[in-house]
Structures are given as structure tokens and as C-alpha cells.
Symmetry: C2
Subunit: 192 residues, 2 copies
DNA sequence: GTCTATAGCGCGATAGAC
DNA sequence: GTCTATCGCGCTATAGAC
């Protein structure tokens, strides 16, 4: 078990800070304190803040969709797959202290302050989630396990919006327990 | 039609700015430019930024729940009431330019950077929404119009989270049209 | 009630030694 | 690759004239 390199430590710290207080409330000074290096050293690894954000979003997106694709391609039932997908959000919510929201959810709120690259990364993350959710819902309908009314595309949007919003809402009030209850309700609705 | 007083202009401008870029990306200088007065004059009306935020949240909360209560107490059917409630969010989304999110949704993301007063105001807003939604859903079940599975409390959380998240997600991609489609899907699900 | 002027701080970023 | 030192800017906030 070798120690993480500095670049990784910076990314980890930046991500945690953004998930807690947001991009615009997070500074190089904050990262500096947490990692134990000077601000100038962070600029060596990430010349600008925009630069850091782009790298962070790339890393998280790769990580997240790798997990999502494993779920999609698994031999489990659609219901289990949907549960596992929702668990990805719960994991974010319950890792470390309870104050964290979803990385892309936070940046969705701060969307209009991002540069065009990051703006497009957020947009792509939302689209890619919904595209994969459509596949998952379609699988469930084919097996007869899912019996909700309406179109799969609309239902995918309902689910994704609920998860993103639910993280923010339950962070303020109720925490993980409430989030889980909401997910259970969703599963029931999807099963019809 | 008398002109709005300065205090109101400041609140209106601050609200629009927060809904677009967030609290932490909005400055007294921005308000100053938009209203056409100097920064010092804003401090006369609102000594500190925290002060301004508290006043803004109070005003919006009063406004919003006055409308919500009118809907709840109206003689309409539960389905119409739910639609009208969702319309409150759509109105926010489609007023002025298309770049605006929900005021309390934005501050939910920036929750950890708020002072304790504003933090509690956000928490109360979320709770009060869900409490009233529970009443609305209960009414619908009693008339037989709503036929969703599970508990009304869980369903209220699903709906509120979806609306808050949906505003952020569709602001990035799809806009009002997508938001409306999502709401339609919700109505279908609630009716069972 | 609005103004000019400014204090005091934190920010992102850079130069250059080691 | 990390450091010290510093620049220039924008921020919230205040003092005091009008």
C-alpha cells in the first residue's frame, strides 16, 4: 500500500470540498491546508482552477460510468440493477461525514459560473445517465418486472432528477435514512 | 403603477442573480450595477450579505406558501392541485431568461456556506413543502384519484426531490419542455 | 438615502530560489 | 516538485460628506 501521489491527494481533497461547500466556496488555500502543501505547489499540478475542475470531472465521470456499466452488463434482474444504481448515490451521500452531496449535482447548481468545457462535461454526465437509465428501464419492461405507465425516457428523467434532488434535500433534512426510504418508494412505483 | 422602492429592487435583483449563478458567485457589485446604485447604498438597506439572504428567503417563502395554500384550499380536484403545484416550479424556470433555477434549490447546494439562520430557513422550506404535499396526496387517495403504492410521506419526498432536482437537471439540458414532460410522467405515476 | 473613498482581507496566479 | 514572496484583483464592510 504505497501512499497516494500528490496529484491524487489534491483531486481527492478538491472533490470532497466541492461536494461539501461547492466549487465557488472552495479555494486553493483550503486544499493546501488539507493536503499539507503550499498553494504554489497545487498550481504546479493544476495551473488554473478551471484546469483542476476539468480533471476532476473527467476522473469522476470515468469512475462512475465504469461502475454503472458493470451494473448494466451484470446478469442480475432489472430491479436489482436499479437498486445498485441508486446505491451509487447513497454511497456518495454516506461516505465520510454526512455533509456531502453529489459532485455533479453541486456543479449543476453552479453551472453558470463554469467555463464552457466544464459546462459541457456536466451536460454530458446528465445525458449519459439518462441514456443508460432508459436501457435499464427497457430491460425491466421486457422481463415484465417493471410496470410503470408512460415512456421510458420520461421515467428515466423522473428517476435521475429525483436522485440528484434527493441528495440535496435529504442532506438538509433526514439524511441517508430518508434517502433510502425515497429510493424504496421509487422502486415500488417502477414495479407498478 | 408606482416605481418599486429601492429595497424591493435590491431583493428582486439579488434573487435573480442567486437563481442564476448562486449565492457565492453573486456580489454587492453585481446588484449595484443592475439596480443602478452604489454598493454602499445596498449596505444601508442590508448591512450584511447574511442579512440580505435572510430577508430574501423570508420573502420568497411567504410568497410561495401563500400560493401553495391557495392551491390546497381550492375546490379543484387533487390532480389539478398537484399540477398547479408543479406549475409553481415551472413558472420559476420559465420566467425571464432560461438560466434560472429554484431559489431554495440553489441555496440547498450552498447550504454548508450559509449562516445558521438561513440554514434553518432552507430546512424549514423543505419540510413545509413535504408536509403540504402529504396533505395533497392524502386528499387524492381519499377521492380515489391517486392510486400509487407505498406511503404518502415517501411519495411526497419523491415528488419534491424530483422537482428540485429536475429544475437543475433540465436547466443544463432540455429546458422547460423537458421539465413539463417529467411532470406529466409524475402525474401518470401518481394516478397509477 | 445615496454618495465617494478606503480599509482589510482572501482569492487565483506567477516568479524565481532550492 | 515544493518552497517563499508577492502581485493585482474583487470582495464585504465602514466612515463620513452631502
Amino acid at each position: 500500500m504505497t501512499a497516494k501521489d500528490t496529484r491524487t491527494q489534491i483531486l481527492d481533497t478538491a472533490q470532497e470540498l466541492i461536494q461539501r461547500v461547492g466549487l465557488n466556496a472552495m479555494s486553493y488555500a483550503d486544499i493546501s491546508t488539507a493536503v499539507g502543501i503550499r498553494k504554489a505547489s497545487i498550481h504546479y499540478h493544476f495551473p488554473s482552477k478551471d484546469n483542476l475542475v476539468v480533471a476532476l470531472l473527467d476522473r469522476f465521470s470515468s469512475y462512475f460510468f465504469r461502475l454503472f456499466d458493470v451494473i448494466l452488463d451484470s446478469p442480475e434482474s432489472p430491479e436489482i440493477k436499479l437498486r445498485r444504481y441508486c446505491d451509487l448515490f447513497i454511497a456518495t451521500l454516506s461516505s465520510g461525514n454526512q455533509d456531502k452531496a453529489c459532485l455533479y449535482g453541486m456543479l449543476g447548481a453552479e453551472l453558470k459560473t463554469l467555463n464552457s468545457s466544464s459546462n459541457e462535461q456536466v451536460l454530458k454526465f446528465y445525458r449519459d445517465n439518462q441514456t443508460r437509465l432508459v436501457q435499464l428501464l427497457q430491460q425491466g419492461r421486457e422481463t415484465g418486472e417493471f410496470k410503470f405507465p408512460g415512456q421510458v425516457e420520461s421515467m428515466a428523467m423522473v428517476i435521475f432528477s429525483m436522485l440528484e434532488g434527493g441528495i440535496l434535500v435529504t442532506r438538509a433534512d433526514g439524511g441517508v435514512a430518508q434517502f433510502r426510504e425515497m429510493v424504496e418508494q421509487l422502486i415500488q412505483v417502477v414495479k407498478g
